[in-house]
């Protein structure tokens, strides 16, 4: 029987020749068909993409060409400073803006960043002329906290006890978080504050707060005095002095707070390290492949003897004569092979458990009939009765 089907198959092939099943002929060995142009203009899989100009829109803020202040206004958290009498200022760019708010006061801080605060005019014995320089970490809104943050302020309270800890060379960390519903005592949502000085030794207030809710603000305060006349290392490696000017809210000089650093985990979008062209937004003059001096996407760039990247037929100005250009890397590197199969076991305990989706609905409508005296609500012109009554 097996030989019978084999013979039958051979007969069918002989009769139909090399015609395809769909009626089109199968290519001969010396015939080629180019793929569509749209496929041809791309170098190939895994090295292509929408191009730097498009990817830049998805890039994280703070990358090349895109600062945190560009684009749409960022969502902010309104912080309410309460507690000990003092005035609150902050770093705004290279300006030390003092006395921007007097406790109790409130100010908006764009989310996903850390700010340098300046507490001055602290009341109490021994604090005359002393300033404190805490940092304020403002976390990005989480779906759990969006509703709260768009309706409420986040209180940051400095107590006399906190100041005593700072004076005693202790660091005070305050974590203000919104408790999960199971940790709330009332349905009316309110924030909770974990203070490092009130916890047992070894307990991290941030870890503890993340276990019980969603962190919104972290205040870290010590007695370190900031030296604002300092030098900074520039991107090109040089050291340049940074000159800070000052502004005073008492003189009507108000400046918005600006972040000293962004919180990496709160930055949304494609990580900047994955985008060669950096950030951008529609309309911005960002490098687009094939436009202007930017090479075509996928064009090979190789090192040349003059130390610059370029096509291998340099020098320019003459006919292309270079046929071969070889660079050998003789370094003894030990680079492990890339991981080709990653296995990550995750377990959510307890796992999600929702009812099965509805697959059958029976709709039955019954119209009640009431006799006189059956209906207990007055049949008059109530607020929701028809005009004129029944």
């Amino acid at each position: 029987m097996r030989y019978y089907f084999l013979a039958l198959g051979a007969l069918v092939v002989v009769c139909m020749g090399c015609a395809g099943v769909d009626g089109q002929s199968v290519l001969k060995s010396n015939e080629y068909v180019a793929p569509p142009a749209a496929m041809m203009q791309h170098p190939g899989p895994m090295v292509d993409g929408p191009g730097p100009g498009v990817m830049g829109v998805l890039a994280q803020p703070g990358g090349m060409g895109m600062g945190p202040g560009m684009g749409m206004p960022q969502m902010s958290t309104q912080v309410k400073f309460i507690g000990h009498d003092m005035s609150v200022g902050w770093l705004s760019g290279n300006v030390i803006a003092r006395n921007q708010q007097v406790v109790p006061g409130r100010a908006d801080f764009p989310q996903g960043a850390i700010y340098q605060l300046v507490y001055s005019n602290i009341s109490g014995e021994g604090w005359a002329g002393e300033d404190l320089f805490p940092t304020l970490e403002v976390r990005s809104a989480h779906p759990n906290t969006i509703a709260y943050l768009t309706h409420n302020t986040v209180p940051v309270e400095i107590t006399d006890e906190d100041l005593e800890h700072v004076r005693s060379n202790n660091m005070v960390t305050k974590v203000i978080y919104l408790p999960d519903p199971k940790f709330q005592a009332r349905a009316i949502a309110g924030v909770e504050t974990l203070v490092s000085t009130t916890l047992d030794p070894g307990i991290d207030p941030i870890e503890q707060a993340e276990r019980m809710g969603t962190i919104m603000v972290v205040l870290r305060m010590g007695n370190k005095r900031m030296q604002f006349d300092e030098a900074q290392i520039q991107p090109n490696g040089t050291i340049a002095p940074v000159s800070f000017s000052s502004a005073n809210g008492d003189n009507g000089e108000y400046l918005p707070p600006s972040p000293v650093t962004l919180i990496p985990s709160d930055i949304q979008g494609v990580p900047g390290a994955m985008i060669a062209a950096g950030g951008g937004f529609p309309g911005q003059n960002v490098p687009v492949s094939g436009m202007g001096p930017t090479p075509v996407w996928g064009m090979p760039m190789t090192a040349t003897p003059i130390g610059l990247p370029g096509p291998p037929h340099l020098p320019l100005g003459g006919p292309a004569g270079l046929k071969s250009h070889t660079i050998r890397n003789l370094s003894q590197n030990n680079m492990p092979e890339p991981v080709d199969h990653m296995l990550i076991d995750v377990e959510h305990s307890p796992g999600y458990s929702v009812p099965a989706p509805v697959k059958h609905i029976q709709y039955k409508e019954t119209h009640p009939v009431f006799g006189p005296g059956d209906v207990s609500t007055p049949q008059g012109q109530g607020a929701y009765g028809p005009p004129g009554g029944y």
Binding site: M72, S76, Q101, R106, H151, T153, A185, A187, V191, T377
Partner: protein, 254 residues
């Protein structure tokens, strides 16, 4: 004999399966499952429900905002400038499926204070033709709620339209729905058991500050009509209040 053994084994398996699945089935039979809740970001629930219902997108639902005694009510819709400012009780109409920001000020109980609650319109009423203004969704902001908001807490209320059958059959004095829920309860589900959720009201103490306030803070961009739905004599537009609201935004903070 082997057949009888197999039969008894099958019975035992079915019984065991019933014991294992029984409590779950009973637990789900008491209440329905509501995937949405009032703790989601403002506007999310209304948007989802609008997509599900496919209501008339041009329908403007009358809303009536009542304060403890007196005050002014401003309505924002994705703009830092209020669309309308009227005296309380204020009535306006707005499209469903959106959330709007209100500004409550000039209250004699809270002098100098202003509160910016938000309303999220989930559903619409179906009044007799031509009398929609007579059936607004009442938003009653009590003095207790406003006190909680000013003290730094957030009050969330779900307004629902009572099921007409239960409203007609049960004695009004004996109907006793739960007014305050536990933190872990789903207020939307609870409201759905009594009727049809119409609106989520969130009241907090944050005030907008600075010109860089995201427009999404002021609402999701639904249409607001202060026109004919405002009953004569109940709302008076005070231009001085509108100017003050703009000034407070430009001032940045208080």
């Amino acid at each position: 004999m082997p057949i009888a053994h197999e039969s008894s084994l099958r019975t035992a398996i079915i019984t065991l399966a019933f014991l294992l699945t029984g409590p779950t089935a009973f637990a789900q039979s008491g209440a329905y499952y509501e995937p949405l809740n009032e703790k989601l970001p403002p506007g999310f629930t209304a948007d989802i429900m609008a997509r599900v219902r496919h209501d008339d997108m041009f329908w403007l639902q009358p809303v009536r905002v009542e304060l403890p005694t007196a005050g002014t009510v401003s309505v924002y819709s994705a703009t830092p400038v209020p669309i309308v400012t009227t005296s309380a009780p204020a009535q306006f109409s707005a499209s469903t499926g959106h959330f709007y920001r209100l500004r409550i000020a000039d209250m004699p109980e809270f002098p100098g204070e202003e509160i910016y609650p938000s309303i999220e319109i989930l559903d619409r009423l179906h009044p007799p033709a031509g009398s929609a203004a007579n059936y607004p969704i009442p938003v009653v902001l009590t003095e207790a709620d406003l006190k909680e908001a000013l003290s730094g807490r957030m009050v969330t209320r779900v307004i629902y339209l009572e099921n007409p059958r239960s409203a007609a059959q049960k004695d009004p004095l004996r109907r006793n729905p739960r007014a305050t829920l536990d933190p872990t309860d789903n207020a939307l589900q609870e409201a759905g058991m009594y009727g049809r959720p119409m609106m989520i009201v969130r009241i907090g103490g944050r005030i907008p500050s600075g010109p860089n306030m995201p427009l999404s803070y002021f609402g999701s961009g639904g249409t607001v009509d202060p026109g004919d739905s405002v009953p004569a004599g109940s709302g008076v537009v005070k231009l001085s209040d509108r100017k003050r609201a703009v000034e407070s935004l430009a001032r940045g903070n208080d």
